[in-house]
């Protein structure tokens, strides 16, 4: 019997939770705020779904209802991607070691 591809995705999901668990515990507490802003930025990879949604259907009707939701999602996700990575960068730039 063939294995349902869903099972593979579930395996990826569960293994990733474990990876996340160990990686996040190794994050130093002083970088918890950048951790939040960067997780926020990477969760905006949901833009992948938004792009598929926006470009679906025939080219005569670019703005069908389902496409519109795609376009809106693109804007929201883009705010997050650029905002999230840049503000993380800005914060990380400030962390400096003692000058000897």
């Amino acid at each position: 019997m063939e294995i349902d591809p869903f099972i593979f995705r579930l395996s990826i999901f569960i293994l990733s939770i474990f990876v996340g668990y160990y990686v996040v515990w190794s994050v130093t507490p002083s970088l918890h705020t950048p951790l939040m802003s960067v997780t926020n930025a990477i969760s905006s990879v949901i833009i992948v779904g938004a792009i598929i949604a926006a470009l679906a259907g025939s080219s005569e009707r670019i703005f069908s209802t389902s496409n519109m939701f795609g376009f809106l999602a693109i804007i929201l996700a883009a705010v997050n991607i650029f905002g999230g990575f840049l503000v993380t960068q800005r914060m990380l730039q400030m962390y400096k070691k003692k000058k000897k």
Partner: protein, 464 residues
């Protein structure tokens, strides 16, 4: 691009995202980590364009919308003051949540585009995944909006509670599960919309009973939700980059909530079910008898610190409110010139989000190797001459160690009272967030400095 090839590239993005988080294990590697994250995102977006392969007029619009959103995001990222980080993060969470809802709606309206079947005949598994993604996304959205309003001060930070609150949440939660079940049977779009609307409502109801100082838990929790929403959508779209990211973000937020709860010695449910401030206030008023406090001014403080050999600074949310971090750094510089050894002690729940104080100190050019976590520095208070408490309160209260009746009993606190003298900058004697009196105010070795944190620190700099 073939489906297999693009799946492979999505896997690479997922790995780059893991490396982005891994980089945060130390400030040195963190900047490189962030570039990994950016690369992962760029790969995901490019691969999606290539695998959709539609470069018609719609593509131009996609680029335009991407640029609009991107410029708004970049503008915010450069303009936002560091003290506003908590509300910025809450705001960003709401956007992820709403984007998840929109993608789910779009997939529901046009399942063909995602290979999920046809309208009113969507694959069962996909239907469950997309409605879960939409529900969690909607909860994340409205919950984050409430958190944002509370952090921004537009909405009062005090908990809003009413009778039967938890019952209503429970009923609404069960309704969502029932509706998802019913959606699978009927494929009706009305049911789908009802799920989305009820979830928006649940998000609001879930966050309103939680008070201002519990916000570190709330923000971490919403962070976690935004991850689970992304994972739900990832399952719908059969996209491994989204599934991996969702799992990473979900567990990251969960761990942060756990750390925050532990920092307050409270269970997660105790925080989520609401309000310290609400029921504890009555006890405050009773115990409020007049006790003598020692009152000092900037000159006294400057004299004490100048003649100390070591000083530990304990910052809290009040420092963020008063924007006193730069003045504080100047004070420390002046002390260092006098040969005083200075370090900073950060309690896990100081501020309004995890790591809030560390970012503010970094902004004021405080080197991160002078800043210590509770466990690292707590033993040093006994050997330190002066502890300078600026804007912190409950996290220094020795009652947490001595009085089992106290609501904060058992919470890990900084052993500030063990230092030879304590300088406590505060505007008045009012109790902190937990609504209890701080025993520290009345100790013999405590000198109260009644003033705004920033003004007082500046005055101390002058008299140094």
């Amino acid at each position: 691009m073939s489906a297999n090839l693009s799946a492979f590239f999505y896997l690479i993005s997922g790995i780059l995202f893991i490396l982005a988080l891994r980089g945060l294990s130390s400030p040195e590697t963190s900047r490189r980590g962030n570039y990994f994250g950016i690369a992962g995102m760029a790969i995901s977006i490019l691969v999606t364009f290539l695998s959709v392969g539609n470069f018609g007029p719609g593509f131009i619009y996609v680029l335009i919308f991407l640029l609009i959103g991107g410029s708004v995001g970049a503008f915010i990222a450069f303009k936002i003051p560091m003290t506003a980080m908590p509300e910025l993060v809450a705001g960003f969470h709401s956007l992820v949540g709403l984007a998840a809802v929109f993608v789910a709606i779009s997939a529901f309206l046009n399942p063909d585009a995602f290979n999920l079947g046809t309208v009113a005949n969507i694959k069962l598994a996909s239907l469950i995944e997309m409605s879960l993604g939409a529900a969690i996304g909607a909860i994340t959205f409205s919950g984050s909006i409430i958190a944002f309003l509370k952090l921004r001060g537009i909405m009062s930070g005090s908990p809003i509670t009413f009778k039967g609150q938890h019952l209503i949440n429970l009923v609404l939660g069960l309704t969502i599960i029932f509706l998802i079940f019913y959606l699978c049977l009927s494929q009706s779009s009305n049911i789908f919309w009802s799920i989305v609307i009820i979830s928006f409502l649940v998000g609001v109801l879930l966050i309103i009973p939680i008070g201002g100082a519990d916000m570190p838990v709330v923000i971490s929790m919403l962070n976690s939700y935004s991850g689970w929403a992304a994972a739900g959508i990832g399952f719908t779209l059969e996209n491994s980059a989204l599934i991996i990211t969702g799992a990473l973000v979900g567990s990251s937020g969960a761990i942060l909530s756990y750390i925050m709860c532990k920092g307050m010695n409270r269970s997660f449910f105790n925080v989520i079910l609401g309000g310290w401030g609400a029921n504890e206030q009555s006890t405050t008023l009773e115990s409020k008898e007049q006790k003598p406090v020692k009152n000092g001014n900037a000159d006294d403080a400057a004299f004490l610190m100048k003649n100390a050999s070591s000083v530990i600074i304990v910052p809290g949310y009040g420092m963020a409110v008063a924007q006193a971090q730069h003045a504080l750094r100047e004070m420390v510089d002046a002390l260092k010139k006098n040969g005083v050894k200075v370090s900073y002690a950060i309690h896990p729940v100081a501020g309004r989000m995890p790591g809030h104080m560390n970012v503010l100190l970094a902004e004021a050019n405080v080197p991160y190797d002078e800043v210590f976590e509770l466990e690292e520095i707590n033993n040093d208070f006994a050997n330190c001459d002066v502890a300078y408490v600026i804007g912190a309160n409950d996290v220094t209260n020795p009652v947490a160690k001595s009085d089992p009746q106290s609501p904060i009993y058992g919470m890990p606190v900084l052993d500030v009272e063990k230092s030879k003298s304590v300088l406590f900058v505060k505007r008045s004697l009012s109790p902190g967030y937990a609504g209890i009196d701080n025993d520290l105010f009345y100790r013999d070795n405590t000198l109260m400095l009644f003033a705004d944190a920033k003004k007082m620190t500046e005055e101390i700099v002058k008299s140094l």
